[in-house]
């Protein structure tokens, strides 16, 4: 009611972020145990970090290790914090920032359903060929394509399919690995 009469303050000091936001790919080696994904994802939501893409699967069955590839957007300062916070989790073995630690490869797989007939169908096939998309299902009215590549390539293919009868898309999210002989 009369609160507007005086400016209120806060018990906290709020700083403005001055650094630019960057997009980085992190590779996280973890024990494949119950709740591990919730732990990693929970850390991101609890600390307000943004996840753009997340891929996870067991990669070493003998040692029950999983590899999580996570694409994050944050300021350089926060990116360092994200890495350190991840490493602090008990079941996390290692975290590599593939964007800063030398050259790396990034691939994604998408399944793309396109429906159409006549000229559209011919054009669809021509473009699929150019993108090396495989036909994994076909009916007289539709195709399902499998495309792999960098996310940008998949984006463009999806963009081209849009006017040709795009029905739906599923994407795996990013899998990434460093170039050269060194492993994680």
């Amino acid at each position: 009611m009369n609160a507007h009469l005086q400016p209120t303050g806060s018990a906290y000091f709020i700083t403005k972020e001055t650094q630019e936001i960057e997009r980085h790919t992190l590779s996280v080696l973890v024990d494949n145990e119950p709740g591990i994904l919730a732990r990693v994802v929970g850390l991101f939501s609890a600390r307000g970090y943004n996840i753009e893409s997340l891929t996870v699967s067991e990669t070493e069955h003998g040692r029950r290790l999983s590899r999580i590839t996570v694409v994050v957007t944050a300021t350089p300062r926060t990116l360092v914090q994200i890495k350190l916070q991840l490493e602090r989790l008990v079941p996390v073995h290692k975290v590599h920032d593939l964007t800063t630690e030398g050259a790396s490869l990034e691939r994604e797989l998408a399944l793309i359903k396109v429906a159409g007939s006549g000229d559209h169908r011919a054009e669809t096939l021509r473009l699929a060929d150019a993108f090396r998309a495989q036909i994994v299902d076909a009916t007289v009215e539709s195709f399902v394509f499998e495309v792999t590549g960098k996310p940008g390539k998949i984006d463009s293919f999806i963009g081209l399919m849009q006017p040709l009868g795009l029905v739906e898309v599923v994407r795996t999210g990013l899998a990434a690995i460093s170039r050269g002989q060194q492993g994680m």
Binding site: N2, A3, L5, Q6, P7, T8, G9, S10, A11, Y12, F13, I14, T15, V30, D31, P34, G35, A38, R39, G42, A46, R77, V80, Q81, L84, Q85, E87, R88, V90, P91, V92, H93
Partner: protein, 589 residues
């Protein structure tokens, strides 16, 4: 050698093997097998609490005063959810706890069974680590691993959630070899990097305006760490300040001690932090109550940061020289390296700095106007301190949260680590009374005092009943201002003195309340009678609730308002804090 036993027996056996003597808990349906196993042994003594939050704070007090992990046992559902505040408190203040929560049988999990809750889901973000035990074969390993994780590296709370059918199941008990534990990923770094330590000492050797800024990490690293800190301070001649959590690591009676720093810290500590050229942070984390305005925090210093948790480095404040490692090991290395380079303290080089610090000291920032008609809260703590100094017993202090907590930190002085228990990170009202119970369980012959506020103490008041049951002679020293004093102070400062719900309309008669619980009640409102009343409290062999009626509207000063740099501290001679902020343009963010 494996031995056949039930899951419930394994829990007790593992506790005994871990050297656990006391466990704080409360029974319930899902926990009954463990309670049954407990009934049939003597190694572990169970303290029955009145509310599970109380159990967690007792375990925290126990842990902080002994350096050993505190252990809690609660039932499923409401038992587990009641423990969440204490778990979060322990996480924020890095206190080692192992909390065993019972769970509905595995077959019922996910069916919304009676007293089922997703304990591992709820506690994932308020524990260092947690487990849901799904096979009895895993139980011995998990129990021992829980203690390892709780107590090593940066300590913290660990939850072990055990379904009732697992408690009944038969299996082989074994003591796992710590090296074969499951989590090969968990390897805290203990030793600091030798080059980094060398570089830190070189920086210290060139310092002209140095300061040690120490924190709870020094306490957590064990009493030896405090010894090394004292040694290093003596070798260097540098001034020492500490956070709320680190009080006692360096003796308050030492002339190099500047008092606590931070929002309600001393003028000399805060200004020395602001103006220093080399800051040596040992086991503190640049909390926002310490830094104030981050972009104006100690603008011209080179900063060294010793911390066992790599994620503490550069989280809030950019540091020039991080040293990851256990404070005890790093401090002892710093002592060794310093000695190898010189046998002189830097007294001459830093003499002008000490002269400047003396000027700040002369301001007397903890001074207050005393009164002979009404008890000033600061005066009450000073008198309590003087009275306890004469005691032959060990003295432990716990606090609740609010103005009384800050006054206790300012006016009660500590010369030893592990004798001061307070909720720093989470600021949990209701912490102090149960924490005092936990301390008293660990130190039956000591004098344990909870310096309390009348609002906070009512949050966990029922644990007085626990103190009476186990004949724990804790003293609860309530600075009763009939206000949530700290909230009132902020409302004066920032909200035009509109006291929205910051006072209690119907306080209980604390003397009668004490008597109702079977303890002793004392009341005093006259400064002239205070010493006698304190003596009466200390002489009584049993729990005492002492209602000290103090000045109602005293402000806790000095104070660095949020959003202000350290050198814009409000000093105690300021008559009306509301006006001060007006003058300065209410520039708070």
């Amino acid at each position: 050698m494996a031995e056949k036993m039930t899951g419930a027996e394994m829990v007790i056996q593992a506790l005994a093997d871990q050297g656990v003597e006391h466990i704080f808990g409360y029974p319930g349906g899902a926990a009954l097998p463990i309670y049954d196993a407990m009934f049939q042994q003597d190694a572990v003594q169970h303290i029955l609490v009145r509310h599970e939050q109380g159990a967690t704070h007792m375990a925290e007090g126990y842990a902080r005063s002994t350096g050993k992990p505190g252990v809690v046992l609660v039932t499923s559902g409401p038992g587990a959810t009641n423990a969440v505040t204490g778990l979060t408190d322990a996480l924020m203040d890095s206190i080692p706890l192992v909390c065993i929560t019972a769970q509905v049988p595995t077959t019922l999990i996910g069916t919304d069974g009676f007293q089922e809750c997703d304990t591992v889901g709820i506690t994932r973000s308020c524990t260092k680590y947690n487990y849901l035990v799904k096979r009895v074969e895993d139980l011995p390993r998990i129990m021992h691993e829980a203690f390892l994780i709780a107590t090593t590296g940066r300590p913290g709370p660990v939850v072990v959630d055990i379904p009732k059918d697992i408690q009944f199941a038969l299996g082989d008990y074994y003591k796992p070899d710590l090296e074969t534990l499951r989590h090969q990923s968990y390897r805290p770094q203990m030793d600091g990097d030798a080059d980094a330590i060398e570089a830190a000492v070189d920086l210290m050797l060139k310092a002209e305006r140095p300061i040690f800024y120490t924190g709870g990490g020094v306490i957590n690293a064990g009493p030896q760490a405090s010894e090394h800190l004292r040694e290093l301070a003596e070798l260097t001649g540098f001034p020492v300040t500490s956070t709320l959590m680190g009080l006692g690591a360096f003796p308050a009676s030492n002339p190099q001690w500047l008092g606590m720093l931070g929002m309600h810290g001393s003028y000399e500590a805060n200004l020395a932090m602001h103006d220093c050229d080399v800051m040596i942070n040992i086991g503190a984390r640049f909390d926002d109550r310490i830094t104030g305005r981050v972009d104006a925090f100690s603008p011209n210093s080179r900063k060294i940061h010793v911390d066992i948790d790599p994620s503490s480095i550069n989280k809030v404040v950019h540091v020039d020289l991080p040293v990851i490692g256990d404070c005890e090991r790093v401090l002892s290395e710093m002592v060794r390296v310093w000695r190898s380079k010189t046998n002189q303290p830097r007294s001459e080089a830093i003499a002008p700095w000490w002269k400047q610090i003396q000027k700040w000291r002369d301001v007397g920032s903890f001074n207050f106007k005393n009164s002979d008609t009404v008890i000033k809260p600061q005066y009450a703590i000073q008198r309590l301190y003087e009275a306890t100094k004469k005691q032959s017993k060990e003295v432990f202090i716990t606090t609740e949260v609010g103005q009384h907590q800050m006054w206790a930190a300012q006016h009660f002085h500590f010369d030893k680590p592990n004798h001061w228990m307070t909720s720093g990170g989470l600021g949990t009202m209701g912490y102090g009374l149960p924490a005092a119970v936990g301390v008293q369980v660990a130190h039956p012959d000591a004098l344990v005092i909870d310096i309390a506020g009348e609002a906070s103490v009512q949050m966990t008041m029922q644990e007085l009943s626990t103190a009476v049951q186990y004949r724990l002679p804790i003293k609860i020293f309530i600075l009763n201002n009939e206000r949530m004093g700290m909230v009132r102070q902020w409302q004066d400062l920032l909200h035009g003195s509109r006291y929205a719900h910051s006072y209690s309309e119907s306080l209980p008669d604390f003397v009668k309340l004490a008597e109702a619980y079977g303890g002793k009640g004392i009341r005093c409102d006259n400064p002239a009678e205070l010493d006698a009343a304190i003596a009466e409290m200390l002489d009584y062999d049993g729990p005492v609730l002492f209602d000290v009626l103090v000045e109602k509207d005293e402000n806790c000063l000095p104070m660095i308002p949020s959003g202000k740099p350290h050198n814009e501290i409000i000093l105690p001679d300021t008559a009306n804090i509301g006006d001060i902020i007006d003058e300065k343009g209410r520039a708070l963010v």
